[in-house]
Symmetry: C2
Amino acid sequence: MEMKSNNLENQNDDMCEIYDSHEDVVGRVKERIPDEAEFIELSEFFKIFGNPTRLKIISLLSVEDLCVCDICEALELNQTTVSNQLRILRANNIVKYQKEGKMARYSLTDLHIEMIYKVGLEHILE
Amino acid sequence: MEMKSNNLENQNDDMCEIYDSHEDVVGRVKERIPDEAEFIELSEFFKIFGNPTRLKIISLLSVEDLCVCDICEALELNQTTVSNQLRILRANNIVKYQKEGKMARYSLTDLHIEMIYKVGLEHILE
DNA sequence: TTAACATATCACAATATCATGATATGATAA
DNA sequence: TTATCATATCATGATATTGTGATATGTTAA
């Protein structure tokens, strides 16, 4: 670990301001993280997983594609609630759907969604 | 796909209430999802990722362990904001820390955190 | 002791999110 | 046409979360 002292004493490693190594560290890590816009977008994406109703829908769709009324019934939630959350899931590219007559059959957009859901579940269950 | 009609006509597959197959589906998928308490816990966990400041901290710590003042400096955020978000991250078992004199050096608790962050980032960048 | 520093906690106004009732749309059937 | 069903959208009050100023704690040094 490289470090430059700005005085003659052998300083304690705990001090923040007198060690240039902290500046080095800060400079180094700053370069390796995404930019502001990406953090905003990513947080919007993860926000979707931060609601139990939406997670339930994701969980159901990770088992099998379903129409809205089946989701309502399986979760014992009213249709407005489910439809509203499906709108949010759609807008955030978490689920897609195809119309089949009067019905809309929903499914997860891609494997990332299922993966994130499952790793999260693993984390809380361990 | 098994289905039982409750009348004599050859019904259209789009109808919801007259097809027992929907009941079958609902019964089947209900058995394969976690229970209410787990969904609550999981949503609390994912909520943490749904804030740009917390994501930035997670992102920094996925590069290298850091003390609070370095995080403040790297993110150009005031100390209260960072400390508050670190408290939330700690309370949710996302980060841990060890005291080193006056300083507190933070790190991610386990690989699940980094994994979820990276899969999410991959998802929004594709 | 006092001072300086790193970090944590408290309190609060601004903002965001939630579930849901009311209502609209669009498709099928009579 | 009218009725019914599946789904979507709008509006709203209740609740939760945000960043931050003020302040507290705890460590080191003089």
